[in-house]
Symmetry: C2
Subunit: 432 residues, 2 copies
């Protein structure tokens, strides 16, 4: 196994004032590597992932030392505890990263899947086959584990990973990337299958988003300001993992105990994630019965609501206009009373972000209308929105949850990191 030489080189030499490899050159190398990866066997790709897992664990001390520098810098810069917690690696976290690599090695390879095929009257045989996208660029904030998580999904799907982490995690990311590169190389695949941008300036981030010659798809992992920067600056194709302003609509026919369990779970089980509920809409016919007990069950959650909700449950504060469109990502929930299913659907059309929307109902027509008429990546009937997630959907792993409509919508697993190619087989056909 052994240490990879480039790792210590990286650690010794990284200095923000030293010239780094130009981003287009990194992109070119990633593109070149992607041509090799496109035809690599699953066996070889899995071997690379398993080697990477082993080396992460073996080289954990080097990674932890690099991480300690990032943490020290963050402390010195007065970062919040949350930021430092997200940044800090431990032996257990590195073990988790290695386990993630092994898990992805165990997933089915999407490349080569024939998704459809037919024969034309003139005898042409047409088939549509999954192939890698090529180079996937990932731009992400803080958490250094994304370096190996993103690499794993890209490599398994036959793509080169072109990575740009945050400045705060640069030492950790460099150490992890060096391990990954050496592991890939150790099984005979190009080290350039994973490229980490060393220049952590904002200008470099913009340049990274504009590598049209080399990048086939850009996927951001980060908050709103990152998304806004991509919308403003990116010229490469991208898939956005956007906000989740998720609603739970409690229908007049709802099982109210079920509704209480679902809203409590969707709001409080992990409030900081995009599939947590941010707003609850209650049909007026059940509001008086439901709201007081729901409010009690939501103890500890800051509730803001409309006048009708406040009248029934005076502990609810008045919601501002902005509250209805806000992804709180916190123990805060907006509560509205609606006159009808139509009003609930209209409210969601106005304020929803197209992520995950749920109805609690026992009425078949209401469930059917809600699932058909609500425009979101996932529409949920009688379950928590927290299930809208690659792991919970059974994908084994996810790179994110797309809130856009093109290419991929909802949880993105390995197949969403591929494109398709038509193969047309003839025996001399020409067009008349």
């Amino acid at each position: 196994m052994g240490r990879c030489p480039s790792l210590s080189r990286h650690l010794e030499h990284y200095d923000p004032n030293v010239t780094t490899t130009p981003i287009p050159e990194l992109g070119r190398r990633a593109k070149e590597a992607s041509r090799v990866l496109a035809t690599a066997s699953s066996e070889q790709k899995d071997a690379a992932l398993l080697a990477a897992a082993d080396r992460l664990v073996a080289d954990r001390d080097i990674i932890l030392a690099a991480n300690a520098q990032d943490v020290a810098n963050a402390v010195e810069a007065g970062s919040t505890d949350t930021v430092i917690d997200r940044l800090r690696l431990t032996e257990a976290k590195i073990g988790g990263m290695a386990a993630g690599l092994r898990q992805v090695a165990g997933l089915a390879d999407p490349v080569g899947e024939v998704t459809s095929g037919w024969v034309r009257p003139n005898g042409l045989q047409i088939s549509k086959v999954r192939v890698p996208l090529g180079v996937i660029a990932i731009i992400y904030e803080n958490r250094p584990n994304v370096t190996s998580d993103a690499f794993a999904l890209c490599l398994k799907s036959g793509n080169a990973a072109f990575l740009r982490g945050s400045s705060g995690a640069i030492q950790s990311n460099l150490a992890i990337a060096a391990v990954l590169r050496s592991a890939v190389e150790s099984v005979g695949l190009p080290a350039d299958s994973v490229q980490l941008v060393e220049d952590v300036s904002r200008e470099a981030a913009v340049e990274f988003m504009q590598q049209r010659d080399f990048v086939d798809c850009l996927i951001p992992r980060g908050g709103r300001s990152l998304i806004e920067s991509i919308l403003a600056n990116a010229t490469v194709p991208f898939v956005i993992d956007g906000d989740g302003n998720c609603h739970i609509y409690v229908d007049e026919s709802a099982d109210l105990d079920m509704a209480t369990n679902i809203i409590v779970n969707a709001k409080t089980q992990r409030p900081s994630v995009c599939n947590a509920a941010e707003s609850m809409l209650v049909h007026q016919a059940v509001a008086e019965k439901f709201l007081p007990s729901a409010v009690a069950a939501l103890e500890g959650v800051e509730l803001v609501g409309d006048a009708r909700a406040q009248e029934i449950a005076p502990s609810i504060a008045a919601a501002s206009d902005d509250d209805w469109g806000t992804e709180f990502l916190d123990l805060k929930l907006s509560v509205g009373v609606v006159d009808s299913l139509d009003d609930a659907i209209a409210h969601i059309a106005t304020h929803g972000s197209g992520h995950s929307e749920a109805i609690v109902t026992t009425d078949l027509t209401a469930a059917d209308r809600f699932t058909k008429e609500v425009d979101a990546a996932a529409v949920v009937v009688n379950a928590s929105t927290r299930f809208v997630d690659g792991e919970e959907f059974g994908f084994g792993a996810e790179i994110g949850i797309s809130t856009q409509k093109l290419h991929a919508r909802g949880p993105m697993g390995l197949p969403q990191l591929t494109t398709e190619k038509y193969i047309v087989q003839g025996d001399g056909q020409t067009r008349g």
Copy 2:
């Protein structure tokens, strides 16, 4: 049937100096209409398409009168005969547009198709269902028939069509759009299902590409300058119908008669289209035997080539560096001699545009390597690249041929105008 009132209103009132409806307002109306279309039945959508076909024919004199104005303006502006030919409508062309609408009415509706579904261990039932994108924006040049062709595919797939044609065809487009709007309204669907931008300024085109609040997908139908303007200005998601710098590679094992037929067909059957061949690569082992007869068969085609091709066939002129990357769209072909399949694949990787690439071979390994290693929307073995087309693939109709990898690649039929939505059905599941 009768004339639609809005048609004559449009024709009477259109004047470039008069204030037109602001583009965001048109977008908002299209979005509103798209919500109704999303749940419209196939029956109702087909009725709208058939009504539109009937009305186009019934109102042909009004459309021809509007078109005559555009043609007169084009003549006055000194447009080329080609431009005027593309612009000019005839009774037969209007009949063709009506036939196109009827043909789309006869295609299968992609909306509602369940593309996959499974049950999770916790009992959650997950299904993935095709749904309309919402609002599809189409920006196109000249040909007024695109107004009805694009509308047909958008409406059948449950999308509102937000259209922006060229200034030169504005009177024709307004007349056609008015007919389409009245037809849609006549079957009880919103007239705003089709919106034509009246402002034909360049500024309006840019504004059109930036309606992020209302446009779900932008599809350009036009040349390179339009594509470049989209890459520079669009903020909405788009699918690009790009260049086709298509190659035919004649392998050492090729049936040379078949190769001649294929290159002649791919180059000359319709040189102005994107799936026509622009370059031929010949394995050196067969170049001496093949090239002289191929050159003879390509009589009338301007040939440019590398030194080796020129040596064998002196009628071939020297190719410039640019020639290898140029989509001639004309009776012109670049010809190169390569040492191996590897060289052919490398040449295509450097110069190809990712549209359609063909090999002529009798060797299984060569065919297999070419189809796996060449990165293009369509890879063709022993047939003309001219078959890479929605009609020839059996899609019934196409909106274009995507050369990008995200969302749709290759010929785009109705399913490519949809997205998918997850429907998650539970009985009270919460996440632990």
